[in-house]
Structures are given as structure tokens and as C-alpha cells.
């Protein structure tokens, strides 16, 4: 099963790099914010696999707090974008 686990981890790494591409190249600020939100959710998946690898359960605590912090950050950025006039 360790080969399967490596395939999972590499698939998640590829998705994280696709999110990083969108963060870097996004033409508008909401694109970057969407990509940051997705990156946070993918990191939670990483935490689940890491806890399954090592057999320790405190990595899932990191996942829980990471998802809540990503939620707060995304809501703050969305409210910030709503106030700001955007012309391009």
C-alpha cells in the first residue's frame, strides 16, 4: 500500500502546484483568493494523509484549525473586495 500512498501524495502535490500557478498568474484579485482558499483545503487533505502515515492524531488538529483559519481569512478578503471599486 505504500506505493498507493506515494501516488496520493504526488497527486496532492501536483494539485497544490496548480493552485500556486493560479495564485501567481491570476489576472484579478478574486482569482488569487479562490486559489488561496483551495490551497488551504488541499493542505487539510495533506494533514489527513500525514496522520495516516505516522499514526499520530495531532496532525488532524492542525487540519481542523487550518480549515477554520482559512475560512476566517477568506471571509475577510471577500469583505475587503466588496468595498473596493475595481476597474480594469
Amino acid at each position: 500500500m505504500s506505493v498507493l500512498m506515494m501516488i496520493y501524495i504526488w497527486a496532492l502535490v501536483i494539485s497544490a502546484f496548480l493552485c500556486l500557478y493560479r495564485i501567481g498568474m491570476g489576472p484579478t484579485p478574486p482569482d488569487r483568493t479562490v486559489a488561496i482558499d483551495n490551497l488551504g483545503t488541499i493542505v487539510v487533505g495533506f494533514c489527513a494523509f500525514l496522520s495516516l502515515f505516522t499514526g499520530k492524531d495531532f496532525y488532524l488538529n492542525i487540519g481542523i484549525s487550518w480549515s477554520l483559519l482559512a475560512f476566517v481569512g477568506t471571509i475577510a478578503l471577500a469583505k475587503f473586495l466588496e468595498r473596493r471599486s475595481f476597474d480594469e
Binding site: M1, L4, I7, Y8, A11, L12, I14, S15, A16, L18, C19, Y21, R22, T28, P29, P30, D31, T33, V34, A35, D37, N38, T41, I42, V44, G45, A48, F49, S51, L52, D57, L60, N61, G63, I64, S67, L68, A70, F71, T74, I75, L77, A78, K79, F80, L81, E82, R84, S85, F86, D87
Partner: protein
């Protein structure tokens, strides 16, 4: 048997994550990207966490995976909704090929 089910769930979850991120790169618009990426990545990560729960059972790790899944299922659609509303109010243009914009019509009707 339950191990096989758990690995199938994790495979489906990782595939959903990967395809959601491909959609995030490939699609032309903020709203299309939001629609592809948020739903796929939410479901994919929830499937991974559910696979961890099925694999470990009612241990500390399994219960924490369930709590994490619950939080993701609540917070992620909420933040996607707020982002769509914020980017529409900020005036980010739609893709030229899109056919309908009901939120704009409602705003015009109100004012």
C-alpha cells in the same frame, strides 16, 4: 473489506482534488473557477477524511477526521458564496460567452 472501501474512497477524493485544480487552471472566469474548484475540492477532501475515518474506526483519529469533515462542509461553501458576492460587487467582469447574470438583473430591479 472496510480497508478496500477506505482506499477506494481516498482514491476518489484525490482524483476530485486533482480535477478541481485542473479546472481552477483551465476555466476562463472567476465564477467558473469558483464553481469548479470549490465544489470539487470540498468533496474530494471530505472523501479523504471519510476514508481515514473508515480505515481507523472510532478512535481519536477517526473522530477528529469526522469533526474536520464537518467543519469543511460548513465553512467552505460559505466562503465560496461570500467570494462570489464580493467579486460580483467589486465589478469583476463575466466571461463574454456567459449567457445569464441574474444577480445583476435583481440589482437593477431593486434600484
Amino acid at each position: 473489506m472496510s480497508e478496500t472501501i477506505a482506499y477506494i474512497m481516498m482514491t476518489v477524493g484525490v482524483l476530485f482534488d486533482l480535477l478541481g485544480c485542473v479546472g481552477l487552471v483551465r476555466l476562463p472566469d472567476v465564477y467558473n473557477r469558483l464553481q469548479a474548484a470549490t465544489k470539487c475540492v470540498t468533496l474530494g477532501t471530505c472523501m479523504i477524511l471519510l476514508g481515514v475515518f473508515v480505515l481507523t474506526g472510532f478512535t481519536a483519529m477517526g473522530i477528529k477526521a469526522l469533526i474536520c469533515m464537518f467543519f469543511i462542509l460548513i465553512t467552505n461553501p460559505t466562503s465560496a458564496h461570500a467570494l462570489a458576492r464580493g467579486s460580483h460587487k467589486a465589478g469583476v467582469p463575466l466571461w463574454p460567452g456567459s449567457v445569464i447574470d441574474e444577480y445583476q438583473e435583481i440589482q437593477e430591479k431593486k434600484s
